[in-house]
Symmetry: C2
Subunit: 199 residues, 2 copies
Amino acid sequence: MSSFPASLENLIDQFASLPGIGRKSAQRLAFHVLSLPDEQAFAFADAVRTAKKQVKRCKICRNYSEQDICPICSSDRRDRGIICVVSDPKDVVSMERAREYNGLYHVLHGVISPMNHIGPDDIGVRELLERAASEDIREVIMATNPDTEGEATALYISRLLKPFEIRVTRLAYGIPVGSNLEFADDATLSRALEGRTEL
Amino acid sequence: MSSFPASLENLIDQFASLPGIGRKSAQRLAFHVLSLPDEQAFAFADAVRTAKKQVKRCKICRNYSEQDICPICSSDRRDRGIICVVSDPKDVVSMERAREYNGLYHVLHGVISPMNHIGPDDIGVRELLERAASEDIREVIMATNPDTEGEATALYISRLLKPFEIRVTRLAYGIPVGSNLEFADDATLSRALEGRTEL
């Protein structure tokens, strides 16, 4: 008697189960959905359903795609000799935005993280090795995040790639463009010094 | 080429259209939905659809309900002589949680707010007057929020209720239970002083 109708409670529960959404936010979102016109609320429900149904992983690079083979892997204007390994589909979008890279990708969907019981078999490592064996790859660029787990994953994969005699590289560390030396942390500064280049 | 598949972009847009959810959060939520097992993602979509379809407003008090008449209005254990006027269905839940009130409710679904072009006709004022005229009401408790708009709305409604010779009351202002005088603001303190009671 003292709570919301069952279907509203259920909707609040569903919102609250999303990451980063607490009980109060979930309530606010559920109330917002109820306040929408029917067609808008149903469009939201359909968007969830449709995305879940249509978006799959590219059979080659494991990036999200609506086709079996994603537009990047099926493009004939990309350099098929380079693979950039990222941990997340978001990172592909970031890389593409930089307009500097013209090779292929490999999306791990995670990083090795013993604390969270995520091992090499849970992310796309085996698939990467298969690509290294079957495709004509010159270079693999490790572009996992520059944190402990991203580092460890990059190192682990680079060792597995040794036997294939492929050049394995890592994105450069250093001070971000447009930032301020004053605010750069010690680790970044010392890496920037290590990686200094000839002018 | 450099963005997400269309259905994923659409899902991100839908999440981003929710209040308080920015582009980055929307992306995170959409990715989370894609990472869910099919049945969980579809359950989420269904929850939106079902809640939107089944939850309507109680024909008497306008609170959210799956029935035409909500459980509170149809209960024979509530005091039908008192109406507590709140601006939001959430407030009914809060009042019920206090386990102190045993009357009926009237949910305005908003407050009068000229800045946002919300007038008395946009919230349930007319319906409240109809109830005052047709039901046997002794008292109306104004429980809108203690902010400018809530105050103005309470005052406005109390004037409209004058001709019905119903007792119109307002929730007491004062220092919150368990709080600290040190942190009470001036307005609250002066209201607490005004409303002081005999010990």
